[in-house]
Amino acid sequence: MSIVQNLLDLIRQEMATHNVSTLHSVKIKHGKLTHVVPEALDFAWEALTRDTEFEGAGLETEEVPLVLKCGGCGREFTPEGLAAMISPCPYCEEQIGHELVSGRELHIEHIEAE
């Protein structure tokens, strides 16, 4: 809910800046490590846009994969499996000290409006 409220504020600002009044859709990207559940966002989007100027506009979400940089050999990899953050490096099997390269994103990509 808070995420969608923040999103709506940003959309209003951007639409005013670009002088457009009808929103068709918005696309957002969310990293694997953020706690975003697309279905929950859809639900919040429906609830918070109902009876507003954005009613009927679409919300498109895209997940950004988790990419770690190995703490041992420095190569980048996308961990397989469910316990993603504690996976050993597939190249050198190092388990400790991986750096997060991507997976924390939570941003708007673009809006479709006129």
């Binding site: 940003l10 490590l33 708007i108």
Partner: protein
């Protein structure tokens, strides 16, 4: 038409967090954001800490809960300043809530401000509150695989407190496993196994706090 935007959705909160951080930095106040599941012992840890370090530091607490002021009253009983924020169903604190809580706090001469977040291992980790460090609490009556299940919280935290170790003989919690998972997610995380009930293991936690206060004051 398509309008490229590329803006962080939580930028309003990040901006507020940066303002709060500056306000705390200017006054040299160490701010810690405590996060855990409900019942892990955040309030118990604060009660102990506020009582034991009362002679050394001036401390205050912002308490976040869905409802009631039970925790603020527990904390205030130690003599420390406490402000309760009721989120009324909200699952985390955000920067604006902390900002409004500051209206009821006297920051003069304050050394440490503890922010006790809403009991939840998920959402609080997304919202920065101007803190110097996050502290993740787990208790041994929970699963020892919590770091693996909720990695973001442990990735963000500088310290991991494992509370209720006096109960270890009665539960299946593997202390080394939980600490090891924490270290694998965040190599630099400091681990403090302790019991707020028996007092065991609290000394290293206090030592860490003293170091953090000294670092903050430069």
């Amino acid at each position: 038409m398509q309008i490229p935007v590329v803006r962080n959705i939580l930028e309003a909160n990040d901006r507020m967090s940066a303002e709060l951080k500056k306000l705390f930095d200017d006054r040299g106040i160490l701010v810690l954001n405590l996060m855990s599941s409900p019942g892990a012992g955040k309030t118990a840890l604060l009660e102990k800490t506020l009582a034991e370090l009362a002679g050394e530091y001036k401390m205050a607490v912002i308490e976040g809960d869905l409802q009631t002021d039970n925790d603020a009253r527990r904390v205030a009983a130690t003599g420390a300043q406490a402000v309760q924020i009721n989120t009324d169903g909200g699952c985390h604190l955000d920067g604006s809530m902390v900002l409004s809580a500051l209206e009821s706090l006297d920051l003069d001469g304050l050394d440490i401000l503890f922010i006790e977040n809403v009991g939840n291992l998920v959402c609080p980790a997304e919202f920065n509150l101007g803190e110097d460090a996050c502290v993740a609490l787990l208790s041994v009556t929970e699963g020892d695989d919590k770091p693996e299940k909720y990695p973001l919280l442990f990735h963000k935290s500088e310290a991991m407190v494992l509370n209720k170790v006096d109960l270890l003989p009665y539960v299946d919690f593997d202390l080394d496993k939980a600490a090891g998972q924490g270290k694998r997610i965040n190599e630099d995380i400091q681990v403090f196994p302790l019991s707020c009930r028996s007092g065991e293991g609290l000394a290293p936690w206090y030592e860490w706090l003293r170091t953090k206060v000294t670092d903050k004051k430069g």
